[in-house]
């Protein structure tokens, strides 16, 4: 019981750091940046769930991030344009009447629901098509990557409907606040941090549930799971949809935090970068995924402020090293170090929380 208390105590400590200390100490500009990283951390949490726990290497999370972000952006655009008005980019793209699929997004409730429901629906559809046919492993990875590529092309190509490469930007009013005001950015930071915290607790609960155990079983032996009477396709599709919903929510938070959603955020490279961040943080632990996303984005900003080209070398090299030497990422290294220490202290190590054994992934 005391351990449980300590566990919650630590969570509370992190919460305190993020919710009280950081806003007090960080200059507003840095706080806004941290909010952006927290958005990415939410996507990473979803990747940790789908890939780390479920073995689905999804290289197209940007698609769901984008769907959520655009749903939010469309609402804000319509809100700025006022009743009957057109978003600014439509005017200069020669679109004269509001396209039908935009209309529901004028309603904030519909838009907020769509933020989660649209990505979930797309993931359910794709998951059903793909997992039912037992497309998995590398095949799934490549398909999800191609999906990201196709999605970006579609978004960019339909400029009059989506804002093209520019994306949706220049919002004036975010639920009654000026998006560029420091107070708005501060409250958006709090909202993002809270959402991340809640999703983390939810995801942790999921991992610990029977469903979570089943998910790990599917990752390690999909075909064996069938002979336990479960349909792995269902398990995977649901998990994929949950991770998609998280990415959608992150995208929706990103829009007021940064003030823009555009195709450059959703393509192959940004999607891959997040997966890389998860790998570096430690894919088998949800906290590792979050940690990785924050560290990598922080390092990216810091590094590219100093020397731009070097970042690619560093990112690439760091990544090669982590994959080769520490496939379980930062959290894995930490566990190893801790276990080594524990073993030295008391030779017959208790196995209450044995480290994750070296995992062989299910080949295609």
């Amino acid at each position: 019981m005391s351990e449980k208390l300590r566990g919650y105590g630590l969570f509370a400590l992190v919460a305190l750091l993020l919710l009280v200390v950081a806003p007090l100490v960080l200059p507003p500009f840095r706080l806004d940046e941290l909010a952006k990283y927290l958005c990415f951390a939410i996507v990473a949490l979803g990747i940790g769930l789908a890939w780390g726990q479920g073995g689905m290497l999804t290289l197209g999370q940007g698609v769901f991030f984008g769907l959520g972000g655009y749903a939010m952006g469309m609402y804000l655009k319509l809100h700025d344009a006022g009743p009957g008005g057109l978003p600014d980019f439509m005017e200069w793209s020669g679109v004269e009447t509001l396209p039908a699929f935009w209309k529901p997004f004028a309603n904030p409730v519909v838009a907020l629901a769509a933020v989660v429901l649209v990505p979930v629906a797309v993931a359910l559809l794709l998951g059903t098509l793909v997992f039912r046919q037992r497309v998995r492993g590398a095949y799934f990875a490549i398909l999800s990557q191609a999906l990201a590529a196709a999605f970006v092309i579609l978004l960019v190509g339909q400029q009059g409907l989506t804002g093209g490469t520019n994306g949706l930007t220049n919002f004036y009013d975010i639920f009654g606040q000026d998006p560029e005001a420091e107070s708005t950015q501060r409250s958006m930071y709090f909202v993002t941090a809270l959402v991340l915290g809640v999703l983390y607790l939810g995801a942790r609960q999921l991992v610990k549930s029977r469903f979570g155990r089943l998910l790990v079983a599917v990752r390690d032996g999909e075909d064996r799971v069938r002979f336990l009477g479960y349909n792995p396709a269902t398990v995977k599709t649901i998990t994929f949809a949950i991770s998609a919903g998280m990415a959608g929510l992150a995208g929706a938070l990103f829009v007021p935090v940064v003030g823009i959603i555009s195709p450059s955020l959703l393509g192959v490279v940004p999607s891959l970068e997040l997966v890389v961040a998860v790998a570096i943080g430690g894919r088998y632990a949800l906290a590792g995924a979050i940690l990785g996303a924050i560290i990598m984005n922080y390092a990216k900003t810091g590094f590219s402020e100093e020397f731009a080209g070097g970042w690619l070398y560093l990112q690439g090299a760091l990544f090669i090293l982590v994959m080769t030497l520490a496939p379980k990422g930062a959290i894995g290294v930490y566990h190893q170090a801790r276990d080594a220490l524990a073993r030295r202290r008391r030779p017959p190590a208790a196995e209450d929380d044995a480290p994750v054994p070296q995992k062989q992934e299910v080949p295609a």
Binding site: P27, S93, N170, A287, A308, R338, D352
Partner: protein, 407 residues
């Protein structure tokens, strides 16, 4: 299991404290503003990494050159300019955030930056809400006039329209439109279609390809079948290489079907392959070969600083101009205050490498001379036509009767 969780959270807890220590120092250094003591901070915000770096780095170089020259001549208001360089990383949200950082944290007096329309659109709200200044150095699609942006590149009536005038003058009646699938080509083509309608030209086709597209055989086939007199090309970046190579290997030459490009400058010619593009026309306001003492000085200084093999191009020159124009406005205003600078800027006229450049105070665009050039076998561009005098900028094409209803 609880313990594992606890330890994981402990690891997570290290991070914010790291952030805190890292940022604690920054907030301290923040105390000094943009114009303290003997320096004035100015921001340079271009992509130094990612796909756009290839173009934007050269603009930053030109801007740094201008800052160096101004400092060597004594600076502005007796103070030296101190550039704060940031990387937009070819990513539009990053542009917005870095702009915010330059304005709020570094408290720069002004920012020179951007290349793509998308990056400008992303930065625009940041500058407008913070009442800060952006100098944007690239030709663009017009239909914009932000009170907090100065546009030192051409707007459509200084590049697209003269390009069409030239084709019309050469008797090219049937035109095929090719562009990358984004805002500039689509807007440009809308203008071209309106122009064509009013001037008895016929548009035989309008095709867009995704950014980074490299397979042009189908498109070249479409063009070959349509048999136009000329092609108006608004492709972007590497797509130009593939397009011109595949056009050439299909046996289509500049003599029988000239391709008028508005995004191919001196720097791109080498990558496309001189023999693939030689003889084709381009439309800009400046070439490395543009005559005049100001340009000779610019080209010489640029090569001296960055290497004899470097070429100068229109966006570089526009970036170089931007720094001088801003400095002139600050001198005239006697302060770096944004409102004062904006007020002083209108009507400033400077002899620049491209010729006389005057700031139009009503829309913060420049009066510029349009120049049509042809790619030479040595890879440089030779001017074959110009508008004679600087053209008044008209980003909304209000003075062109055929363009009503476009904006």
């Amino acid at each position: 299991m609880r313990k594992a969780f606890l330890r994981r959270m402990a690891a997570l807890a290290i991070l914010p404290s790291m952030l805190l220590t890292a940022c604690g120092g920054e907030s301290g250094e923040n105390a000094s503003g943009g114009a303290d003591g003997n320096t004035i901070k100015v921001g340079l915000l271009h992509s130094l990494s990612g796909t756009m770096a290839i173009s934007e780095v050269t603009v930053r170089d030109a801007e740094l050159l201008a800052i160096e020259e101004i400092n060597a001549a004594g600076g502005v208001l007796g103070k030296k300019l101190q550039p704060v360089v940031e990387d937009g990383a070819s990513d539009w949200p990053t542009f917005a955030q870095k702009a915010q950082k330059l304005i709020r944290k570094d408290k720069v007096a002004t920012v020179f930056g951007g290349w793509t329309s998308a990056s400008r659109k992303a930065m625009l709200p940041v500058f407008e809400r913070n009442k800060a200044l952006l100098w944007y150095p690239v030709q663009y699609e017009g239909l914009e006039s932000s009170p907090y942006i100065f546009y030192t590149g051409a707007t459509t009536n200084q590049q697209i329209v003269p390009g069409l005038d030239y084709l019309k003058e050469k008797g090219k009646k049937k035109v095929f439109l090719v562009g990358s699938d984004y805002v500039f080509p689509r807007t440009a083509n809308k203008i071209i279609k309106a122009y064509a309608k009013a001037n008895g030209m016929e548009i035989l086709g309008e095709e867009y390809t995704p950014l980074g597209h490299t397979e042009y055989s189908t498109l070249v086939n479409k063009i070959a079948q349509a048999k136009p007199d000329a092609v108006f090309n608004t492709l972007n970046g590497d797509s130009n290489v593939a397009f011109f190579k595949q056009l050439k290997s299909a046996g289509i030459t500049a003599a029988q079907m000239p391709v008028m490009s508005v995004s191919v400058a001196e720097e791109e010619v080498g990558g496309i392959g001189i023999d693939n593009i030689v003889g084709h026309p381009v439309a800009w306001n400046y070439y490395q070969t543009t005559p005049g003492a100001a340009n000779e000085k610019f080209v010489k200084a640029f090569k001296a600083k960055y290497g004899a093999k470097k070429v100068t191009s229109d966006p570089m020159e526009a970036g170089y101009n931007a720094v001088y124009l801003w400095a002139e406005a600050v001198k005239k205003a006697g302060s770096t205050d944004v409102a004062a600078v904006k007020k002083a800027a209108g009507g400033i006229a400077l002899e620049r490498p491209e010729g006389l450049v005057t700031i139009d105070g009503s829309n913060q665009h420049m009066y510029k001379t349009a120049r049509i050039g042809v790619i030479q076998p040595d890879g440089l561009i030779k001017e074959v036509w110009n508008s004679g005098k600087p053209i008044k900028p008209d980003p909304y094409l209000k003075t062109y009767p055929w363009a009503t209803g476009l904006s």
